[in-house]
Symmetry: C2
Subunit: 222 residues, 2 copies
């Protein structure tokens, strides 16, 4: 695939497009205009056309997008057809919740193994994924082709585990530890999942609305 | 607080600023320039000044920002000082993980109660938060001042629970169900936590890098 540098905002919208297209397919819709797609996503048609134009021509003027074709192309742009394999380190609450409820396969990723230090977990399997001893992590990475690591360990050990991961061929870390793992210019790719960022944005939007209401009420009193 | 409409991108950066400022405070740093702050966050100084200018004047030209003062102001903009109360519905893996590991208090939010249908959970407490029967949800909301709901129920019941929440005064839903809960123009504020969006972005960045490497290797062969 030819690659141009695409802005972060566009990249962040691709998974949203994918979800919407999946939903359309489920509802038996085969074709959609950029206008209609925009309405359903709260985007303008021109923004949608511009986003897709980063990756080539997907639609036909006046004819709309073929839903399943567009879905395939976006999935491919996202690397979902590359067969990435992942490991998960730290089978605590959040690690366990991910193994139990999150479909790695739906993202085109195979969860190959999980690692923990807890004796009662080591040697067991959960939903078909073996749980191994954290002491085996380094050896496992040397002997297996693993691109991604899901990091769910306690804060205190996050930096040490990250070191093992980066020194043994991991390309990218999906980081649930709430720790900034790397310096801004580090070669490893880190995607931080910060629950607090999400809740604080929500808190902002609620505050904004409450202030609007208060302002309106005081206007009405006058 | 005077409010102007602020772009979504700016709002999404506010929690990142907050985290960075917390980190600086922990490291005993009291003052920072927009240049230095930008370097640490991968942003330009002018972008930072522009972001803050949406909310008034925070720094002093040539003197930098007072770390704790700026931290307080951003926290206030985010509504962290408004004493929002939240309930959590669905104490499964992810709900449990949030109650166990996520600090609502650090976001200025009090988790007042949790709700589930599981008999073995109802009537118990977890980390000081009472777990009540989902049948009590409606009554509870009528009798308590709750702004936020954390939705961790299974997909199948998400829409029904959302209906109860919105009809009983909930302002905003922090949505972990992987379901689009509302139409684009619904009055309720929804913050979706889509783990897959995050993993797919990561997959994109890894693919981009691998393509760059392949391209470089083929250039070197020529």
């Amino acid at each position: 695939m030819k690659r141009v540098k695409v802005s972060n905002n566009v990249i962040r919208r691709l998974p949203r497009y994918l979800r919407k297209l999946d939903e359309l397919q489920e509802n038996g819709i085969n074709r959609i205009s950029s206008f209609e797609l925009g309405q359903q996503l709260g985007l303008t048609p021109s923004q949608i056309r511009q986003d897709f134009s980063c990756f080539g021509e997907f639609g036909q003027q006046g004819y709309g997008y073929n839903v399943s074709g567009l879905r395939e192309q976006i999935a491919s742009i996202l690397g979902m057809d590359r067969g990435y394999r992942a490991i998960l380190v730290g089978v605590g609450n959040i690690g366990h919740a991910l193994m139990d409820n999150f479909s790695f396969a739906d993202c085109g990723v195979e969860l190959a193994a999980a690692f923990d230090i807890k004796e009662s977990l080591i040697g067991t399997e959960f939903k078909g994924v073996p749980i191994l001893a954290e002491a085996e992590l380094e050896g496992y990475l040397k002997n297996n082709d693993i691109a991604l690591a899901v990091l769910c360990v306690p804060k205190e050990v996050a930096v040490n585990v990250t070191k093992i991961l980066t020194e043994n061929g991991i390309e990218a870390i999906w980081n649930f530890t709430n720790m900034e793992l790397t310096e801004p210019n580090s070669p490893i790719i880190v995607e931080n999942v910060h629950f607090s960022d999400s809740l604080l944005s929500l808190s902002y939007f609620v505050s904004e609305r409450m202030d609007e209401r208060t302002a309106e009420a005081s206007r009405n009193e006058k």
